[in-house]
């Protein structure tokens, strides 16, 4: 299955890397956002199937963006993509409605496996 994806990450390097991998896996990146505010404005415009959301952002954290996205669209599918591998984070973001957590660094095989794993569970 091919997804239309919004990437939210402050790092332009990570956005390009993730975008390359997603396209290689047959998905379409419809927009990229470098902050929480940009993500909240891009979401209603592009109505993506999936949001890849970083936690550390320059304005508001991904932990604040996530519930806001879910208020905009209760069916929003959000995958957290983060370098933060702390145990408490995964439980926290799942309680906020994220469909999964992908830890950086990752390769396209790990990304593909994660997308395959979370897709059936998505609301």
């Amino acid at each position: 299955m091919s997804y239309r994806i919004l990437i939210v990450d402050d790092s332009p390097v990570l956005r390009v890397m993730l975008s390359d991998m997603l396209q290689e896996l047959g998905h379409q990146v419809v927009a990229e956002a470098d902050s929480g505010a940009a993500a909240l404005s891009a979401y209603p415009e592009h109505k993506p199937d999936l949001v890849c959301l970083d936690v550390s952002l320059p304005d508001i954290s991904g932990l604040e963006v996530l519930p806001k996205l879910r208020r905009l669209d209760p069916r929003a599918k959000v995958l957290i993509v983060t370098g933060n591998d702390q145990k408490t984070l995964e439980a926290k973001v799942k309680s906020l409605g994220a469909i999964g957590v992908l830890h950086k660094p990752f390769d396209s095989l790990e990304l593909g496996a994660m997308l395959a794993k979370v897709a059936p569970k998505a609301p």
Partner: protein
């Protein structure tokens, strides 16, 4: 308030675990092995660390991070200019032209690489306290070691605050690149966290 010897030993071992996670993360990103040359945690005044770093005047690319207020700490990663270029080439090589043509690619890549490594070093510490510690986005600076480190020590009184400094040196033979990592924690704040969490 000071850490008791047992708390300090636990802190040091949590940082050692974080250092190992950091070397693994750096290796995975740059597709080559990184070894830890030295790793130490000491209570020293910030001014002494700066005077040690003042000996090296060569330019470095550094990325600084600070945590949220609940768990106050700073992490700084420093790469020599040559090392930063080598790491950037290794990390970006498999990706598209769009990435390699990006302005300021070295600074941006070191910022992203450091973000992942910095989270790795504090991971074990956060897990022990059952906390989620979110680091700021990277503040990337270029200059001599002491100069780029100074900014991360601004919130401390260099002579009077008791600061725990973890200093790690890593090296990749394949890339001929080294990475210095400095973690700064206010000892009194850390001791309070240990006490509140009843960890020891």
């Amino acid at each position: 308030m000071e850490l008791n010897p047992k708390s300090r030993q636990l802190f040091t071992s949590l940082i050692e675990e974080g250092v190992s996670r950091s070397a693994d993360a750096l290796g995975k990103m740059s597709r080559t092995e990184w070894g830890v040359i030295s790793s130490s945690t000491n209570e020293i005044p910030a001014v002494r660390l700066l005077s040690w770093f003042h000996r090296d005047k060569t330019p470095h690319v550094a990325a600084g991070f600070e945590s949220d207020k609940d768990f106050p700490l700073e992490v700084v990663l420093l790469f020599s200019e040559k090392g930063a270029k080598a790491v950037t080439e290794a990390v970006t090589k498999p990706f598209s032209e769009r990435l390699r043509r990006m302005d300021d690619l070295v600074r941006l890549t070191i910022g992203e690489v450091s973000n992942i490594v910095a989270h790795s070093i504090i991971g074990a510490l956060a897990d022990k306290f059952d906390r989620t510690v979110i680091l700021s986005v990277p503040d990337v600076r270029v200059g001599p070691k002491a100069e780029v480190l100074e900014k991360s020590l601004e919130r401390y009184d260099g002579r009077n605050d008791a600061i725990l400094l973890s200093h790690v040196e890593m090296f990749s033979e394949n890339l001929a690149a080294e990475c210095s990592m400095v973690l700064v924690v206010n000892e009194a704040a850390l001791a309070e966290l240990f006490e509140r969490a009843g960890v020891l």
